[in-house]
């Protein structure tokens, strides 16, 4: 039985998705949260296999939240559920260290299949997507560059490799907290310090050659 945790600020959305998931014999919803603040303690308490989380939350962004979950509980897989388009969602998922993303549409999407695949440990992001994101963000040809420091570029590359904050800290011999600060600074430079929907635009469009 795959245990799923839902994070979305709309109750209607949670109820709708929970209905779809609970109708499957091999999937069950073990917990829900509406805010960033509620999520971590509840995820700790319920130990789901997969967290399905909205990128846009009232008290923070899903990218930071996802990184926090992955860092504290690396065995928990994250699937971003987003109202963004594919390009924006890809950037978001790479930076968040999520296993993949699912767009917010009802019948076209393969939410259930994605949850199952992610629970088996598969990565849904196409090969090459992470590398392209790093390439675009760190070496933009022609567009205004975000001016990353060496450390930030290193952190970005390790993010794209799928490492958690804790693992990045070990690799670069930094305290996890320091890595967290680098990640925040990086996100801020990429325009992601505000609510993510504005942010990911920055990443996918404005910085784009």
């Amino acid at each position: 039985m795959t245990r799923v945790f839902l994070v979305d600020d709309h109750e209607v959305v949670r109820r709708g998705i929970a209905g779809i998931i609970d109708a499957e014999p091999d999937l069950e919803v073990v917990g829900e949260a509406a805010t960033v603040r509620q999520t971590l303690p509840r995820v700790h308490a319920t130990r789901p296999d997969v967290v399905v989380l909205d990128v846009r939350l009232p008290d923070g962004n899903g990218v930071d939240l996802c990184r926090a979950i992955r860092s504290e509980l690396p065995e928990v897989q994250c699937l971003m559920l987003t109202a963004h388009d594919d390009d924006q969602a890809s950037y978001g998922a790479v930076l968040a260290g999520a296993a993949g993303y699912v767009l917010k549409d009802i019948r076209g999407q393969s939410l259930l299949e994605s949850i199952r695949r992610v629970a088996r440990g598969e990565k849904l992001l196409r090969q090459g997507v992470s590398a392209q994101v790093v390439a675009d963000l760190s070496a933009p040809s022609g567009a205004p560059a975000p001016d990353l420091t060496l450390r930030e570029r290193q952190v970005l590359e390790l993010i794209a490799e799928g490492l958690t904050n804790r693992q990045i800290g070990e690799r670069l011999d930094l305290a996890e907290k320091t890595v967290k600060n680098y990640v925040s600074g990086l996100l801020a430079k990429l325009g992601m310090e505000r609510r993510t929907q504005a942010a990911v635009y920055g990443a996918s469009a404005d910085r784009r050659p």
């Binding site: 959305v13 388009d85 594919d86 390009d87 969602a89 009802i106 070496a139 050659p209």
Partner: protein
């Protein structure tokens, strides 16, 4: 002593034998009687179970119980959730006598004791029992008493009361038989309830599908009166004589206004403005839950025309209060039952979804007129997509509970919502980003579309799926732009089409599809334009097809090429 013993001796076995025979005969008779009674229990049970209408079931239960134990009077008291007797279905008492009594039993005294104790009570004489509270005036005299609880799914539904056994007193066996009957009765009641529920659901589903279809109708005129449709359907479902939809006069204002009214006296109340305080509607509005009254009016007490029982049900969508649905019956009509309230609430919450959806649609078309593009994009993204998604999920959930024709209608709406979401995504993208000269592929496609779109009767519909900008780069992006440009110019020059759609999808390959509803490209000889596209496909190991559209009309162009293996290798 001895003689007595001797004398007694022959008597003993005889009397023993006699007693044994007597016992045997008695037992045989009892078996026969019991069998007969078991048979009548079976018959009674069957009579009860065969019924589906709840009212008939309840009457049959009382009849069967009275017959089974041969009692003069019998009754079934239905217990309300608060523990009081909600209904009292009785037989044996002539109507003329019932009318003389001040009131029917209210569940005090002995009747209440059965409720409280939750197990059978059997008495030879009611009078003198400490639990008896005496009889109301004009109540017929009653002697023997048997009260047995009726449970439905482990919950006490009510009690069977039997009095004045014609055979003198109720026996242990009577108690057992009635207990068995009560068990059957519980199942019958549950069946009837389920049946009732399923019929109710069916009616409700059909009504909901109708409302949803009306609210989502692309036809503006039909959707304008969507609230009227809601009012009509609810009125029919819960048997109300007047239905009003009350909405706030304006944002933040303290006043409520009757925006839609249907039924008796509708003309008189339509457009009325009132203060919410002290009214049922006001309470429903403020508390955010359904509120019912025995009498009184949805608004104020000197409401004209006078109304009987009233309920107010709030309409809320996404935490926002949209209005209140007020239902009224004429003076003297039965009050709204809990089932009515449930149904109205459920209906209201589903109608709210549909209303939200209609609003989201209206928003998305209205927003196109506003100047501030990035704000529009944010609104579209933050509110409209979220709302559509949530509404779509809810509708899909509803579809699961519906039967064939209604289910298809709702699912069609869900598909329409998905299409709308995907179009809005493209709109958001087009609105937020006006990039530099060497723009992303999506920008370049949109630019070509708007450039050539002027030659077409209506703006083409453009959708993207997959991370197009991330994965389609360089030469491949050039090819995609060329395919869109040539195909759209062909549509403009040759097709005489009304509508045209462009879709660019990327997965392991990039697939460009352009469809139109024009005259079609049957057997036309390939010239330089299409030939060029075929070459571009071949050089990349892809395919190019031009043929008839899926509906058998128009033209469909499909161009595809695999992604280069090292996509993302840093350009």
């Amino acid at each position: 002593m001895v003689s007595e013993e001797i004398l007694a001796f022959p008597d003993e076995p005889r009397s023993e034998l006699e007693r044994t025979i007597e016992e045997l005969v008695e037992r045989a008779q009892r078996v026969l009687a019991t069998q007969g009674r078991l048979r009548s229990l079976l018959r009674a049970s069957r009579a009860v179970v065969q019924q589906l209408d709840i009212e008939t079931v309840l009457e049959r239960i009382v009849e069967a119980a009275v017959e089974l134990v041969d009692a003069e009077y019998g009754a079934l008291g239905v217990i309300a959730p608060d523990g009081h007797l909600e209904r009292f279905i009785h037989i044996g008492m002539p109507e003329s006598e019932v009318r003389l009594m001040a009131h029917l039993p209210e569940g005090h005294g002995l009747l209440g004791a059965v409720v409280e104790e939750g197990r059978p009570i059997r008495l030879d004489r009611i009078e003198g029992d400490p639990r008896s509270a005496g009889f109301p005036a004009h109540h017929p005299h009653m002697d023997g008493f048997l009260g047995v609880p009726v449970r439905v799914r482990d919950q006490v539904f009510g009690n069977l009361y039997l009095t004045n056994p014609r055979r003198g007193a109720f026996t242990q066996e009577d108690e057992e038989l009635v207990t068995s009957l009560a068990a059957t009765a519980g199942i019958a009641i549950e069946n009837a309830r389920l049946y009732d529920e399923s019929r109710r659901r069916q009616r409700w589903s059909a009504a909901l599908a109708e409302v949803t279809a009306a609210l989502l109708s692309e036809d503006a005129e039909e959707s304008v009166d969507s609230l009227g449709v809601v009012a009509d359907r609810v009125a029919a479902l819960v048997d109300a004589s007047l239905v009003c939809l009350v909405t706030p006069l304006e944002d933040g204002a303290e006043l409520l206004r009757v925006g839609v009214a249907r039924g008796e006296g509708a003309e008189q109340v339509l457009g009325r403005v009132f203060e919410p305080h002290g009214t049922i509607v006001g309470q429903a509005w403020e508390l955010g839950r359904a509120v019912a009254s025995e009498t009184g009016s949805p608004a104020d007490l000197d409401w004209v025309p006078a109304l009987g029982p009233v309920v107010g049900v709030p309409l809320t969508g996404f935490g926002q209060r949209l209005g209140v649905l007020a239902l009224a019956r004429p003076v003297g009509a039965p009050r709204f039952s809990d089932a009515d309230l449930d149904m109205a609430s459920e209906f209201a919450s589903q109608a709210s979804v549909a209303i939200e959806l209609a609003r989201a649609r209206a928003d998305s078309s209205q927003l196109q007129l506003v100047e501030d593009r990035s704000r529009i994009a944010r609104d579209l993204h933050d509110r409209v997509i979220q709302r559509l998604f949530a509404a779509g999920l809810t509708l899909q959930g509803i579809a699961g509970t519906l039967r064939a024709p209604a289910q298809e209608r709702v699912l069609e709406q869900v598909d329409a919502i998905d299409t709308a979401i995907s179009e809005i995504r493209t709109a958001v993208f087009a609105l937020t980003t006006r990039g530099p000269a060497r723009a992303s592929l999506r920008h370049r496609v949109l630019d070509v579309v708007s450039e050539l779109g002027e030659a077409l009767p209506s703006p083409p519909r453009v959708t993207f799926s997959g991370p197009v900008d991330l994965l389609v780069r360089d030469g491949l992006a050039e090819d995609v732009v060329a395919v869109v440009r040539e195909s759209l110019s062909n549509v403009a020059r040759h097709a005489r089409a009304q509508h045209c759609e462009v879709d660019v999808a990327v997965d392991d390959a990039v697939v460009v599809t352009i469809t139109d509803d024009g005259v079609g490209a049957h057997g036309s000889t390939r010239s330089s334009g299409t030939a060029n596209l075929a070459v571009r496909a071949r050089e990349r190991g892809g395919t190019y097809e031009i043929g008839t559209g899926a509906s058998g009309r128009g033209t469909r162009v499909r161009w595809s090429a695999p992604l280069p293996p090292a996509a993302g290798g840093g350009t």
